[in-house]
């Protein structure tokens, strides 16, 4: 049995048997990993609150035959505001669910690890609703998806752009339209985000555009993964 240490984000966990949990981790150098935390559901467990979703930990694990086993955990980054504010936790859940869907076991992406930990920290610190759209843009870029935002993907017109349809590759004009409505303000902000000027967008975007970007990014995630994300349903349909 090999022992190894990894920095990891807890993506989610499942109950296992009487007192254990399977923890889904996104590790810095091994990608997604599933591991058992024994006895974690007992109130006297040595793991305490360290393995709850969104926590960044430094963990020691045993390589098992099927699942690895968590033996020790140190906290690296806790997000205390998520416990007080369901809206913030709802947004964090979208990031976690998206990374879970985007990643395979044993397929490491240190860039994705860095993106996730950075976005979680920012969400905990500032709670800015645009963190999710910015995260989605960067995630899609890592996945090799970069929507055309300058001109209609169908007829190349650069005026009268009204909608975004990721399945067709970008924005569409009023003659070719499909997908979700997109205002000019949202389109420009999205362009900035894809070009990496996230800070500028976070600082300057008005509320109405921010809301639009949230729902657009949620549609983009749904289209990319070809399913409705559970957490965006809760965060955007029940809490806002």
């Amino acid at each position: 049995m090999t022992l190894y240490r990894e920095d990891a984000v807890v993506l989610r966990s499942y109950k296992l048997g009487e007192a254990d949990r399977i923890i889904v981790l996104y590790t810095r150098t091994r990608g997604k990993t599933r591991a058992v935390a024994k006895g974690i559901r007992r109130t006297k467990s040595k793991f305490g609150a360290r393995l709850e979703p969104s926590t960044v930990v430094h963990a020691q694990l045993y390589e098992g035959r099927n699942l690895d086993i968590v033996t020790q955990v140190e906290t690296r980054q806790v997000h205390a505001s998520f416990r007080r504010d369901l809206m913030r936790y709802g947004r964090a859940a979208i990031l976690l669910e998206a990374v879970d869907l985007a990643s395979e076991e044993a397929e490491p992406s240190p860039a994705l690890f860095k993106l996730l930990t950075g976005a979680l920290r920012e969400l905990d610190r500032a709670g800015n609703p645009l963190i999710v759209p910015a995260f989605v843009a960067k995630l899609l870029k890592l996945e090799g998806v970069q929507p055309m935002l300058e001109a209609c993907v169908e007829c190349s017109r650069s005026d009268g752009l009204v909608s975004l349809d990721l399945s067709r590759g970008g924005v569409l004009c009023d003659r070719c339209r499909s997908g979700g409505f997109m205002s000019a303000g949202a389109r420009v902000a999205m362009q900035h985000v894809f070009e990496g000027h996230v800070r500028h967008v976070l600082d300057t975007t008005e509320n109405s555009v921010a809301e639009e970007l949230q729902s657009l990014s949620s549609i983009m995630l749904d289209q990319h993964f070809e399913r409705r994300l559970r957490s965006s349903r809760v965060a955007y349909e029940h809490l806002s």
């Binding site: 048997g17 006297k44 793991f47 305490g48 609150a49 369901l86 809760v234 965060a235």
Partner: protein, 200 residues
């Protein structure tokens, strides 16, 4: 999975929906049931049917109940002004065993969990608001689990649902487990214990 006869497939599918049972366990249980005597499998099937026929949820608090209202709700000795909010009926028995609580309960039948797609509308939060509006309740104790989902649910109920009623809303104190060593406590637990320290 497609190679099994239809009834076996259906059973594996149903068993796989149960909490804590993965596809492999579901398969193992299904083939076990295929082998056992008819009388034993009938007993299990009847127990499930009986449970659904005879036991349902209390119409007031959603505790398990044999009648329309549960034994706690109809007990006149229970304090009508205090409500303890829990996630599941099994939490009621845990609190009842302490003998320290004499009010009534409200069971949410779940907890808000965005990762599982469970929002406030899917658990009994609206019903809680109706009770607080209709019954003369002066204190609500939020006894959801001290984990991330339980805490966010408690915060949501306190801030978004109960605030307008101007009643006392309390949360189960969290701190160090009795009998444990300080050095093993995680940062969050230790921090809470410090915040909630008591004068001796």
């Amino acid at each position: 999975m497609t190679s099994y006869a239809k009834p076996v497939e259906v059973l594996i599918d149903e068993l796989g929906r149960l909490p804590g049972i993965g596809p492999k366990s579901a398969q193992r249980i299904a083939f076990h049931l295929l082998k056992v005597d008819r009388i034993d499998s009938d007993r299990l099937a009847n127990a499930i049917v009986d449970l659904k026929d005879k036991i349902s949820f209390c119409e007031r608090c959603f505790n398990v109940s044999e009648g329309e209202e549960c034994t706690i709700c109809i007990d006149p000795r229970r304090n009508q002004a205090v409500l303890c909010v829990v996630e599941e009926p099994k939490d009621i028995s845990a609190i009842e065993k302490t003998g320290a609580y004499h009010g009534r309960y409200h069971v949410l039948l779940g907890v808000i969990n965005p990762l599982e797609g469970v929002g406030p509308d899917q658990i009994k939060i609206r019903e809680l608001a109706h009770r607080v509006a209709a019954e003369s309740i002066t204190e609500v104790i939020l006894c959801t689990n001290p984990n991330l989902e339980g805490e966010t649910t408690a915060a949501f109920i306190a801030n978004k649902i109960l605030k307008p009623f101007e009643i006392k809303v309390t949360r189960l104190a969290s701190g160090l487990p009795v009998g444990g060593d300080l050095e093993y406590a995680d940062e969050l637990t230790l921090g809470r214990a410090l915040e909630g320290r008591q004068t001796l």
